[in-house]
């Protein structure tokens, strides 16, 4: 059930995306769709092009050809900084937090595109800036609270356990009020209890906030427990696409994972 004031979950359509770095083909035309409200797992061996695909959706990489659209909005026609406004939020494989800043400041970073006070309004201390600041602080505290991080808001982001930092990054992504949330290996480096906890959190958030999730993950336990749908990449190509149980037994997937292609 989507919360009031929150946009509905989005549909991501990826069509035939191709990306090369010099002579290396990173993405070789995968196409798939993430349906509204579903958790779609993007899996595959290392170097399969999963993060490259995330970067294409985020606008950090420009694919050579193909289409990426969220609810009909062509993401490839946007600048990287406009993608957030189109409803995409993401986390990073190696954490994209700002270590010297407090947890609250990090999370508030996610409010950027929802606020308008620029250099003039901020530099002169106009009421607009104070109003927005108060509103977003309140919202950030709410998000932190819902993730059980409220007591850490003034702690610097450095020096916290990895599991906590991953949740801080998640909180920041939630501040963007995304219609599509992209998580890049959220379970990486977590101990088994934390993985279960995280799976629980993501599931809960999805029902609470109502967004679609695209998830890169190697931890098969987590993938199987929360994904409604799996897309498998290998060497930049899609080799399987379907419900988790089906994909798990797909011979092409088994081969890719067991090293038949090495």
């Amino acid at each position: 059930m989507p919360r009031a004031g929150h946009p509905a979950a989005g549909t991501l359509k990826v069509r035939d995306v191709r990306l090369r770095f010099g002579g290396v083909v990173a993405l070789d035309g995968p196409s798939f769709e993430v349906a509204p409200g579903e958790v779609c797992g993007l899996i595959g061996p290392n170097g399969a092009g999963k993060t490259a695909l995330f970067n294409c959706v985020s606008g950090l990489y420009r694919p050579d050809s193909g289409r990426i659209a969220l609810d009909g909005v062509d993401l490839l026609s946007l600048r990287a900084d406009q993608v957030a406004g189109a409803g995409v939020a993401r986390t990073f494989q190696n954490l994209g937090l700002f270590p010297a800043q407090s947890v609250l400041e990090n999370v508030l970073g996610g409010a950027y595109h929802r606020t308008r006070a620029g250099f003039l309004a901020t530099g002169l201390g106009l009421p607009l800036m104070w109003r927005e600041e108060r509103r977003e602080r309140e919202r950030a505290r709410g998000v932190l609270d819902s993730l059980g991080l409220a007591h850490l808001e003034r702690h610097p982001a450095s020096g916290l356990p990895l599991g906590t930092l991953k949740r801080v990054e998640l909180a920041r992504a939630l501040m963007l009020r995304p219609r599509l949330l992209m998580l890049d290996e959220p379970a990486n480096g977590l101990i088994i209890e934390e993985v279960h906890e995280l799976a629980e959190v993501v599931r809960g958030l999805r029902t609470g906030y109502g967004f679609s999730v695209l998830l890169i993950e190697h931890h098969m336990g987590m993938v199987m427990s929360i994904c409604d749908h799996l897309v498998v990449l290998n060497h930049g190509q899609k080799i399987a696409d379907g419900p988790p149980d089906e994909v798990r037994n797909d011979p092409a997937v088994v081969e890719a994972y067991l090293g038949g292609s090495v």
């Binding site: 770095f21 010099g22 970067n55 950090l60 990489y61």
Partner: protein, 294 residues
């Protein structure tokens, strides 16, 4: 016509110096990925050493090698003590600040020890200028050009024909895999800083008779050399030489023939070259394009 030819020749002679300092900038950039703004001042310091050794009564043929040897050690030491730790923590802002700090420190140490009185540096080659067709070139300038050619050939040999050069090239391309191949990467870093300092001292000592030896002698040259290295491509030794000569000629011709520029304002030409190259072709004429990955 004669004036034009003379201007071009003068430009080339000046360009040789820019090329030499640009070469040392490139050497350092290839291995350490930074522009050592202190390079020119290190060279000036070396020239002061040559002067000092000579002033103590040593003949130039002893004084020059002695100061060159000291510079090698100084350059290598700078890399080992100041640069390496920051490079390892990839603190780029820190590296930039430290290079500037070294520049200022050297400048002030020179001023402290030797003062701002211009020092008389003897020429290596005395005698009347040589006529080249309708143009004239001083014997000292012939020596300077010869020295630069020698440096270029020696570097080419070092890079292309020795195992050390292989390690150096490997270090500039990809440090981790070079380490895996068992090439002495860390040694080459230190070595290239030493060589860069040697080039600087040699050239600065040779141009000192023409350039007024005083603290900050090569600060204007630093600007032209940075322009030269940028134009040629920061990681290309060939580019540094071509860039240096081009900048020397362009600067000289612009100063003489373009109205409104004049001799004082020639520096703006270097600035314009830097700006235009960085915007239009950041990798320079001969440099390699770096792929930025997120």
């Amino acid at each position: 016509m004669t004036v034009l030819l003379q201007q071009i020749l003068d430009g080339l002679t000046a360009g040789v110096l820019y090329a030499a300092i640009a070469l040392s900038l490139v050497l350092v950039y290839r291995t350490s990925k930074l522009v050592n703004f202190a390079q020119g001042e290190l060279a000036t310091f070396g020239a002061f050493l040559t002067w000092q050794f000579h002033d103590w009564g040593l003949p130039l043929s002893v004084a020059l090698p002695a100061s060159v040897a000291v510079s090698f050690v100084a350059g290598a030491l700078m890399e080992r003590t100041l640069i390496r730790p920051l490079l390892e923590s990839s603190n780029h802002l820190g590296l930039f600040i430290v290079c500037l700090g070294v520049l200022v420190t050297l400048l002030q140490v020179e001023a402290w020890i030797w003062g701002y009185q211009v020092k008389e540096m003897p020429n290596v080659a005395e005698g009347p200028p040589i006529a080249l067709g309708p143009t004239m070139i001083s014997r000292q300038n012939v020596v300077i050009i010869a020295a630069c050619v020698l440096i270029a050939v020696a570097l080419w040999f070092l890079f292309q024909r020795t195992r050390f050069g292989l390690a150096m090239r490997a270090a500039s391309d990809n440090t981790p895999s070079a380490n895996l191949l068992g090439l002495p990467v860390t040694a080459t870093l230190t070595f290239s800083w030493g060589i860069a300092a040697v080039i600087g001292t040699l050239m600065a000592s040779l141009v000192a008779p023409n350039q007024f030896l005083q603290p900050g002698m090569l600060l204007p040259v630093l600007l032209y050399s940075v322009a030269a290295a940028t134009l040629g491509g920061l990681d290309s030794p060939v580019g540094a030489i071509v860039g240096g000569l081009v900048v020397g000629v362009v600067e000289n011709l612009a100063g003489t023939y373009v109205p409104g520029i004049g001799q004082d304002f020639k520096q703006a030409v270097a600035f314009a070259i830097i700006m235009i190259v960085l915007l239009a072709r950041p990798q320079g004429l001969f440099g390699s394009r770096t792929v930025v990955r997120v």
